[in-house]
Structures are given as C-alpha cells and as structure tokens.
Amino acid sequence: MTWTADNLGLIWEQLREHLYLAIVPVILGLLISVPLGYVATRFSWLANPLIALGGVLYSLPSIALFIVLPAILGTKVLSTVNIIVALTVYTVSLLIRNVIDGLRSVPAEVRQSAVAVGYGPLHRLFAVDLPIAVPVIFAGLRVVTVANISMVSVGAVIGIGGLGELFTQGFQKDFLTPVVVGVVLSVLLALLADLVLVGLQRILTPWARVIAAPPVEVA
C-alpha cells in the first residue's frame, strides 16, 4: 500500500495517459468509419471488401503494428502517435462492420419515405439513417472501447502504454503491487467507459426502449 500512496502522482498520470490513448482512437475511428460505411452503403459492392479488409487489419498483432508504424509514418519510436494510429486502425476495422450493418438496419419503407418527403442524401444520413443505426453502431463502439483500453497496455513494450507501464515496472522490479494496481485500474476504466457508453446510448435512443413494450390501444 505504501508504494501506491507514494506513487499516486505517477499512477494518476498513467491513468490519464491510458484513457487518452484509448479514447482518442475511438473518436477518430468513429469519424472515419461513418463516412466510409456511408459510402459502402451507397456503393454496395464496396461493403464486403471493406468488411473483409477490416477483418484482416484487426488480425494484425498489435506489437508488430506498434513497431512497424514509426517506419511507415516517419514518427519517432516513442511517439504517442504510433499508438493512436494503430488503435485507430483497429477501431475502424471493427467499427466499419457495425456502421454498415447499422445503416442497413434502416427499414426499406423508412428509407423510401425519407426520400419521398424530401430529405436530401446527406440530410437523410444525419436525420434518419444514423439515428436509427445508433443501437448497432453503439454495440460496436462498446466492444472497441473496451478492446482499446486493454490494448493500450501492450504499448508499454515500446515505452508508451499508460497503465501498462505499471506492469513493465512491476515485472522489472519483480514487485507485484504496481501490476495489481495497473490491472485493477484498467478493469475499472473499461467498466466505467462501458457505463458511459450505455448511458449515452440511452439518451440518444429513447425510442428504442419502447419497441420492446406492446402497442397501446387508445380508441
């Protein structure tokens, strides 16, 4: 416990870095996946290749990516950019499927009437298609966020890994406390992030909750 008390500043610093490294890629990934998914629903022949490409990218080992990226991007090995880019790639590769599935979940008659009442294509995306796709997109966001939070720790191998650095520290010194603190905090962080997303989804989709309830008959 004394180690924890003595290192609160460091722990807090790593926790913040961890959160930053995990969340920024989720936001960037979402910003990339939505337009990409939209294009894939407009040109449907693109959808399957994109989803397949996502599968391949996601299967790349993260350590390999962390190490190869500086060479590709011209960044320094110790730059946080490497982690952010790598996790953004993972986020997009997972999320693209959910965005495509989500946009496809809009019922044909709803899409048809959106066109017929006079929504232009982009307006329709933001006012009709995306709101209806929220539950499916959020299912992906939750998976990706938790996955990112766990994956950031791997970055510790190359020296930037948020709470993961507590693991390397603990192993190097053959000292368990930092490892336990790191594990507990990453689990808590993942739980908290998931809760935030669930709450956000509830706020965004008040309509989705009533679907389970039976229709109300009023004469």
Binding site: V110, A116, V117, G118, Y119, H123
Partner: protein
C-alpha cells in the same frame, strides 16, 4: 392536373415496367392505379415524385414538366403514404407529422399546431402525440402516415397500397375516413392498389393496368363495371360486377308501400323488429332515399320477411318495399 405523356420505364436489365403510358389525372379527385403485380402501378406512382426516374416521355403537373424542378423541392410539395406507413421509428408521432414543415423551415409553433390539428383530423387521440410509432397499432400508424403526408398542405398526395397491410375491418374504416377527409380537403390523390374493390370504392377514376405496364382502361368505376373494354378488364373487375355496378345506380325515388302491422316500431318511429308468431325477428339492413340500388337490394336480401325498410335521416321508418319494386327501379 397530372399528365402522363408516352411515359416509359425500362430497367437496366431490360424489364419494361411501364409502357408508353398516357393519361390525365384530374385535380381534386381520387385516381386509382389498379392491376396485378408487375403491372407497373407503383412504378407509375413513384415516377410522379421522381423517386423513380422515367426512361422516356413526360410527366407534368399543372402543365409544368416535373424534370424542370429539383427533385427534393418537388417531393416536399407532394404528400406520400406507403404500406406499413414508413414512419420514422426514432421520432415521436407529432414529430413524424411535422417532418415536412420542419424541412420547409416553418416556425416551431406553427409546425406543432399544424401537426396536432392534423392528428385530430385523421382521427387520432392526441394522447398518442408523444408516443413512438412502435407503440401504435397498424391502423393508427397508417393514420399518422396520412397526417404526415398532409402536413405541409400539398396539392397532391400519392398513396402506395396504404391500407393493404391492415386487417379488413380497420381497412374499411380507413377507406371511409379517407373519403370523408377527401370531401373536406379535395386533394389530387393518386392511389395504388391491387384490390379492385378498393379501387371501385375509392376512385373517382380508375386506371386498370396490365402486366407489362400497359394501360388497359381508364374510366370512372361505374363505366369500368358496365363496359369493360376487353376480357382482361372483365376478368379483373370480377364475376359479380353486375351486382357491384348497382353501387353506382341511384334511383330517383324508390316507391314504397305503407308500413305493415307486423313491423314493430319504437316510440320515435324507428324499426325494431318483425313480429312473427311469438318472437321478434331482427330487421336487416335499412335503406334511405338517395342510397344506391345496391343498398336497396341488400335491404331486401337481409330482411327476414323479404321486405326492405325505408327510413328517413333520423332513422324513422317511412315504408317498406320488396324485390319487385327494386327490380322495377332497375328496369327504369
């Protein structure tokens, strides 16, 4: 007036959906496109708001070619109702109705007032305004669909099989309400159905289309029943078209006989039943002067005594008539 001039729709795979269709849809009336599946009725309808683009020919609204307008602007001026209503599941009922006024940038207060007024007009309880579509029955959703189509007061309303997914009783109600509503609003309505009975009931004019997108006959329903142009139309309007044509025959005034003593009346003079031995037989359908001959014949057929009862607007019995009287009216 909506005018089709040699309009053809051919899909990239070569299928001919609509073949040189020419017809004039009069303003302020209900025109029904009817035909078997594959006759191009929905395609024809959707070419009017350009959600399907024609291959050749011209469609004009009040003399103006629809291709001269931006499709999005065109669509905001045309109401659209489809099967299953196609309501936006993420918007409340009132927000669904307010869709087009919002797109047109009306102020919030006017938009909401209009939406609420329309909900009332289509016979929906205002308690439902803040609900989501999934909480409504099929019939209620379809009413919201009609209200949404009317929200910006368009001159034209397109209806694509709007009542075919609800049960027969609700369908009958919705049809009656549409006719009642149309008497108030007088829109130019183009209505697509595969159900000839619905076409005859609702249409001021009916366009019968055959497979391959060719117009077979365009006429008022009475004309369609009386003089089908060919075997296809004859087959399509059905076997009992003679009986159904009676719907459109209104006798000047049906001569009635005095009320017989077996007919039991209540204090207000309304018929209650027929006295027979020791029981009271229920009356059948009643006939009002001005009703069609179909109603008169129905009154005779459903009466336990073979005599139909003629009543006035307040329901008071005026006289009775039998099949001979109806047959006489038929001959004249």
């Amino acid at each position: 007036m909506i005018e089709f001039e040699d309009v053809t729709k051919r899909y990239p795979d070569g299928t001919l959906a609509v073949d040189t269709l020419s017809l004039r849809i009069p303003s302020g009336q209900i025109t029904v496109f009817v035909g078997p599946s594959g006759c191009g009725k929905t395609t024809s309808l959707r070419m009017i708001n350009r959600t399907i683009e024609r291959t050749s020919g011209t469609i004009s609204i009040d003399g103006e070619d629809i291709t001269s307008k931006d499709p999005v602007t065109l669509r905001r001026g045309i109401g659209y109702v489809i099967q299953h209503a196609g309501l936006f599941p993420h918007k409340t009922v009132v927000d669904n109705v307010a869709t087009v006024p919002k797109l047109l940038g009306w102020d919030k207060r006017k938009t909401r007032d209009t939406a609420m007024e329309l909900l009332e007009r289509v016979g929906l309880d205002l308690k439902l305004a803040e609900r989501y579509p999934a909480q409504l029955s099929g019939g209620q959703q379809q009413r919201v669909g009609v209200a949404r189509a009317l929200a910006a007061d368009p001159a034209i309303m397109l209806m694509d099989e709007p009542f075919s997914a609800v049960d027969p009783i609700v369908r009958h109600q919705l049809q009656e309400e549409l006719l009642r509503l149309q008497r108030d609003i007088g829109k130019t309505i183009v209505f697509v159905t595969h159900d000839i009975d619905e076409a005859i009931k609702l249409g001021d004019n009916v366009a019968v289309l055959r497979v391959g997108g060719k117009l077979a006959q365009f006429a008022p329903p009475s004309e369609l029943l009386a003089n089908p142009v060919d075997d296809f139309v004859r087959g399509f309007v059905g076997q009992d078209r003679g009986y159904r044509a009676l719907t459109f025959v209104h006798p000047q005034e049906l001569p009635v006989e005095p009320l017989p003593s077996e007919l039991v009346l209540d204090d207000s003079g309304a018929p209650v039943g027929w006295r027979a031995d020791h029981e009271l037989l229920p009356i059948g359908a009643v006939f009002k002067q001005g009703d069609s001959l179909r109603a008169a014949l129905d009154a005779v057929l459903t009466s336990p005594t073979g005599r139909g009862i003629c009543v006035d607007d307040s329901g008071k019995a005026l006289g009775v008539f039998d099949q001979a009287i109806v047959a006489e009216a038929l001959r004249s």
